[in-house]
């Protein structure tokens, strides 16, 4: 048996061992890598940012996944919440499946730790878990009156009595819905909230689901999309570079600019946000905790894992073509 035949019959436990090492080592020993921002991510960022400081505009985050896909979706949820808290954007959260409820509370708790001034019922509101049987009545009902459709928040308070509801009545005000899902859940928001009421809808999905959403991105029915861990890493960078940016001229962040995002990258190994660009390096005193860079650290492991899979495919094909039976030339 030659080496190629051995390669074809390799015990799959060796493959599992290589996979484990390729993923664990980059997570334990992170390194700086550049994140390139794509249009679907920057479009979503700009849409959310356009609500900054507005009393009559708000974002609704719909959590439609369970803990199994947290690795990809949780960093994007935390990033968007961070963006909203950073730029004083009203944000609501809702879910229609029981396993999503603790995830929603967890994401809110993780993001708001760094924003002690953000108050529940004033700056953000967790609508909580609503049974899936009420999905349609609530989604359609919010087109007329959000407070009437949802009734109470996760703490049992009457929605209509909350300060955050000032200026928020229906989808004209609750103007952007971002659905985080590992399924086709976002299509329901497109069908009922977008088509019927003209609400803006965006998606935060696992990488395997992203391909399904491209027709809706092209048609404009999705205003933006975060695709898997890469989308989360892009959003983390966007928040670092614009919303969390602080200097004498821009004490509350700076406006989005395609030139700046293309030219700037944020080294994730430092504990404070620093910016590296063709203009030079800027070090700030703004902390960059792990929770705000976890997607970018995860992207290191994903880089190595993708290369490993490509190497596996090449090796597998070399083994296949070299051991393939040649036609019998004696006949």
């Amino acid at each position: 048996m030659n080496i190629f035949q051995r390669m074809q019959n390799i015990d799959r436990r060796w493959i599992y061992l290589v996979v484990a090492l390729c993923i664990i080592i980059p997570l334990l020993i992170p390194f700086n890598s550049k994140t390139y921002v794509t249009d679907p991510s920057s479009n979503l960022y700009q849409k959310i940012d356009s609500f900054a400081g507005k009393e009559d505009k708000a974002v609704l985050l719909s959590f439609s996944h369970d803990a199994s896909t947290m690795a990809e979706l949780f960093p994007m949820e935390v990033s968007i919440l961070r963006h909203c808290f950073e730029r004083n954007i009203k944000v609501f959260t809702i879910c229609f499946s029981p396993p999503s409820a603790p995830l929603m509370a967890y994401a809110l708790n993780v993001a708001k730790e760094d924003y002690p001034n953000s108050q529940s019922g004033v700056d953000y509101c967790n609508f909580g878990y609503k049974p899936y049987g009420l999905f349609l009545p609530i989604v359609l009902g919010m087109g007329d009156d959000v407070a009437e459709a949802v009734q109470t928040d996760a703490d049992g308070r009457k929605i209509k009595n909350l300060e955050i509801m000032n200026g928020i009545r229906n989808y004209d005000d609750l103007n952007l819905i971002v659905d985080f899902a590992a399924s086709a859940a976002v299509f329901s928001w497109i069908t009922y909230a977008r088509v019927r009421f003209g609400a803006n809808v965006a998606a935060g999905v696992t990488a395997v689901m992203a391909a399904d959403n491209y027709p809706y991105l092209q048609s404009g029915q999705l205003v933006g999309m975060l695709s898997g861990l890469k989308g989360a890493a892009e959003y983390e960078k966007l928040v670092d570079v614009f919303a969390a940016y602080e200097d004498a001229d821009n004490p509350n962040g700076r406006k989005y600019s395609p030139e700046v995002i293309k030219d700037t990258w944020v080294p994730i190994m430092s504990k404070k946000i620093s910016y590296d660009s063709s203009q030079g390096n800027i070090d700030t005193d703004v902390p960059l905790p792990y929770k705000f860079k976890m997607a970018r650290i995860g992207m290191n492991a994903q880089s190595i894992a993708h290369i490993m899979i490509i190497v596996f495919i090449i090796l597998g094909n070399i083994g296949y073509f070299t051991t393939r039976k040649k036609p019998d030339e004696t006949i």
Binding site: I15, Y16, P99, P131, G228, K230, I313
Partner: protein, 206 residues
């Protein structure tokens, strides 16, 4: 009657919803409001039915000592303990319910999903072969998209992420749109068959 009554309900409500969508009027809005209040009342019954069904299925398994009945004990225990902890102490930060979720359910779910990485790598090595021109095209597209999704791809060449994005925006989009159109037409045809009482398999075999 067992088949006729559900059939009459489906056909009548089906046409009423079609009318509600296409004929805007006060009667149509009143009908919709009436339905919303009914939908809210139906949901809690579904939860009770689900819990009862779970207890009946697993209770019978435990009683009969069916193969792997021990797993049924774990399922029922998990249901009772999680529900009791939620009802007794609430579901907020610092409660036993959230502790169970963060320390038991979250790691278990993540472990199950992460097993995919091992199976994908193994399958890529053992089965992803350039056996035909179509398979070769798929292989090349997979290489480019995989490299385009990670920072190292852009570091090698800016063409890699741009080509990956083109693959997603053009050939992928065209195929997905074709599939979506087919599915949409299929759904419309099936819905019409249900509304007209031609398709009755949802009623079961009895």
């Amino acid at each position: 009657m067992k088949r006729q009554i559900p059939l009459i309900i489906v056909i009548t409500l089906g046409f009423l919803f079609v009318a509600h969508t296409f004929i805007p009027s006060k009667a149509s809005v009143d009908f919709y409001d009436w339905w919303v209040s009914w939908a809210k009342a139906i949901s809690p019954f579904a939860v009770v039915l689900g819990i009862l069904s779970l207890f009946m299925v697993h209770g019978t398994k435990i009683q009969r000592k069916a193969p792997n009945w021990q797993y049924s004990v774990v399922t029922l225990l998990a249901l009772v303990v999680t529900a009791v902890s939620g009802f007794a102490w609430g579901t907020n930060e610092g409660t036993p319910f959230l502790w169970l979720f963060q320390n038991v359910q979250m790691p278990m779910s993540a472990t199950m999903f992460s097993l995919l990485a091992f199976y994908i790598a193994s399958a890529a090595y053992k089965a992803f072969r350039a056996k035909s021109p179509q398979a070769t095209v798929l292989l090349i597209a997979a290489f480019i998209v995989m490299m385009g999704q990670v920072p190292i791809g852009a570091a090698i060449s800016k063409w890699i992420p741009e080509t990956a994005q083109w693959i997603l925006n053009v050939p992928n989009l065209a195929a997905k749109r074709g599939i979506a159109t087919g599915v949409g037409l299929g759904m419309t045809a099936t819905s019409l068959k249900i509304l007209l009482g031609i398709e009755r398999t949802y009623l079961g075999s009895d």
